[in-house]
């Protein structure tokens, strides 16, 4: 062959070369296209073989297609998906209701304590049926974490996780969380609060919420799951105020030593207790409180009246002479009648022709009433915790107890202050503290006072 090819004439070789060139010209683009197609087919084969790559390639298109279909023909999509999604939802709801029923059954079996009975009565008095109460109790509530945070610096003072970190193995980032939470509070206050007092009360994230209770120098942040029972906020505030009052000096000039507040863990641990609030009576509304106070006053007055009446009756009974008049009737013709009463009775006997009345001087006085009054001077004067004033309308804090005095700060509704003193008229309260940490004067009528005012001194009186 080689010999034969080698023997090819020169003209034939040129023709072959020309033919190749011609083939390139005519079929070249097709050959190029073929190569590209082969490459693409290889790529497609690779993608279809590799499931992850296929999913990555298809998912954006699929997502867009579904979105477009939902936008353009929602009903059709609902109909298409209902057989799948509807069943899933039905199953999930049924499971949730079964859980709820089981919880209610469990509670009904174990809730025959006197406290629960009283609570049921209270609920009934407020128009809540036993079933509703059981349903409410069955709703889950859990305190997941609790932070006590220094208000200005955001430094963590105390942290109570539900599960100790040594057990959960999680890294303790509570100090970072407390600082960032403070930053978020500051941001919300600056961005939306303008010049108003108050602040962020709650942050919700899915089913989890962070309840925030601001105090004077610190604030409590409680991470909860579920719906908190009635009275939880009040309890939170009370515990906070107690801590604030106990550690006022530490908190006012906080040195960064959180160990000084270790003992306050006891207060906060109460809030962490499981099932907290179950036996806590719900807060009464203001009208209910008025009615309750009215009833107590009426009952007290009735009791006092009864005591007073009893005492008067006993006194009169003691003074009243008891005497016995012995009347002897002696039938006979003589009409002689003498009547003597001792010591004060002077009965006028009227003789009739048929009756002879002889009053014998045997009247006997027998004082038998005995009044025994025992005074028990055991009343003890109790000075309660420091009084606090909660502002009920937007109010001004003034430099002096006068309406003409300079306004130093505006207090938002719900702001709570510690009462330091009062003026002689009782119309003004000296409260602490403004955002700058100063004391100011608040009109008494603009606030609700909690705690004992007995120990509150009159400021400015010598």
């Amino acid at each position: 062959m080689d010999a034969a090819r080698g023997a090819e004439p020169e003209g034939d070789r040129i023709d072959d070369a020309l033919l190749d060139d011609l083939r390139d010209i005519v079929a070249g683009p097709d050959r190029e296209r073929m190569r590209l197609l082969e490459t693409r087919i290889a790529l497609v084969e690779h993608r279809t073989g590799d499931h992850e790559a296929l999913a990555a390639a298809v998912s954006p298109i699929l997502g867009d297609a579904i979105r477009r279909q939902v936008r353009e023909d929602r009903d059709e999509m609902v109909e298409s998906l209902y057989p799948i999604i509807g069943q899933l939802i039905t199953r999930a709801v049924a499971e949730a209701i079964r859980d709820l029923a089981r919880t209610i059954d469990q509670r009904m079996r174990t809730s025959f304590s006197p406290a629960y009975f009283v609570r049921r009565l209270q609920a009934r008095a407020r128009g809540v049926s036993g079933a509703e109460l059981a349903l409410r109790d069955a709703l889950p509530f859990k305190v997941a974490e609790l932070f006590l945070i220094h208000r200005e610096s955001g430094l963590l003072l105390l942290h109570l996780p539900q599960e100790p970190l040594s057990i959960s193995g999680a890294e303790d980032n509570s100090d970072l969380v407390s600082s960032m939470l403070t930053a978020i509070r500051d941001f919300a206050q600056d961005a939306f609060g303008q010049d108003q007092q108050g602040g962020l009360d709650e942050i919700q994230y899915g089913d989890r919420r962070i309840l925030i209770e601001a105090l004077q120098h610190a604030y409590l942040a409680v991470v909860v799951d579920g719906v908190e029972p009635a009275g939880f906020r009040t309890k939170l505030r009370e515990q906070g105020i107690e801590i604030e009052n106990t550690y006022l000096d530490v908190l006012r000039d906080y040195s960064g030593d959180a160990s000084q507040l270790d003992a306050a863990q006891t207060n906060l641990a109460r809030l962490m207790e499981e099932g907290f609030g179950e036996d806590e009576p719900a807060d009464l509304s203001s009208s209910q409180k008025r009615i309750a106070v009215g009833l107590v006053v009426v009952l007290t007055l009735c009791l006092l009246g009864a005591c007073l009446g009893g005492a008067i009756w006993a006194r009169n009974a003691l003074k009243r002479p008891a005497y016995v008049v012995v009347v002897t009737a002696t039938p006979g013709p003589a009409e002689a009648a003498t009547a003597t009463t001792v010591p004060t009775g002077t009965p006028a006997a009227t003789a009739t022709p048929t009756v002879t009345v002889t009053a014998s001087p045997t009247t006997t006085l027998t004082p038998t009433s005995t009044a025994t009054v025992t005074a028990s001077p055991t009343a003890t004067r109790t000075v309660g915790p420091a009084a606090s004033a909660q502002v009920v309308v937007i109010a001004n804090l003034r430099a002096e107890p006068s309406l003409t005095s300079a306004i130093i700060e505006r207090a938002a509704i719900g702001s709570t202050y510690t009462v330091l003193g009062r003026d002689a008229t009782g119309g003004w309260l000296q409260v602490c503290c403004t955002t700058r940490g100063d004391a100011g004067w608040l009109a008494t009528a603009l606030a609700t006072i909690s705690g004992s005012m007995e120990s509150v001194p009159i400021v400015g009186e010598e």
Partner: protein
């Protein structure tokens, strides 16, 4: 060993390297995106500092404040309760020196007892340096604050600056 906590702020103009100082030398939990959203990001740095013949384990809560102007109004509230501040400037940008006094003033307005440390950053960029050491020293002397030439990139004097701030914060 006594454990204490203190809040300190990082102040300085945009792009002087505050976040780089933080990113490299302290424990981070949060992403930097908070800086552009709420204007602050908090990190933690634990340093051991001497005090009264003892050693204090001081946890510095570092509030890295955004340097952009849009957060100026909010910055004052972020400064509240701070025991000190690290004021950062850039040795390659003269304009970043101008704001140092402003930051120091803001800090002392909100926290009169707060202590300051000055960090002149990017000292590794020798060829691009436009601010001389004596200029920084003069500003630091005016502020009565210690001064460090730092480089977040190379890790120069950052630890020392934080440690000094810690010592000042616990009153040494």
């Amino acid at each position: 060993m006594i454990s204490l906590g203190a809040k300190v702020c990082l102040l300085g103009d945009y792009a002087v390297g505050k976040t780089s100082l933080v990113r490299r030398f302290v424990y981070n939990m949060f992403e930097d995106k908070y800086l552009s959203t709420i204007g602050v990001k908090v990190s933690r740095k634990v340093v051991a500092v001497p005090r009264d013949d003892d050693v204090v384990e001081l946890t510095l809560m570092l509030w890295d404040l955004a340097g952009s102007e849009e957060f100026d109004r909010i910055r004052a509230s972020y400064l509240r309760g701070a025991a000190g501040a690290l004021i950062v400037c850039d040795l390659t940008q003269r304009s970043t020196l101008d704001s140092i006094h402003e930051y120091a003033h803001q800090m002392s307005e909100v926290n009169p007892r707060a202590t300051l440390v000055l960090a002149a950053n990017k000292c590794d960029l020798v060829e691009q340096r436009v601010v001389q050491e004596d200029e920084i020293s003069a500003i630091a002397a005016e502020l009565k604050a210690p001064c460090y030439l730092t480089s977040a990139k190379m890790g120069v004097a950052v630890e020392e600056a934080f440690r000094h701030l810690g010592r000042l914060a616990v009153g040494q």
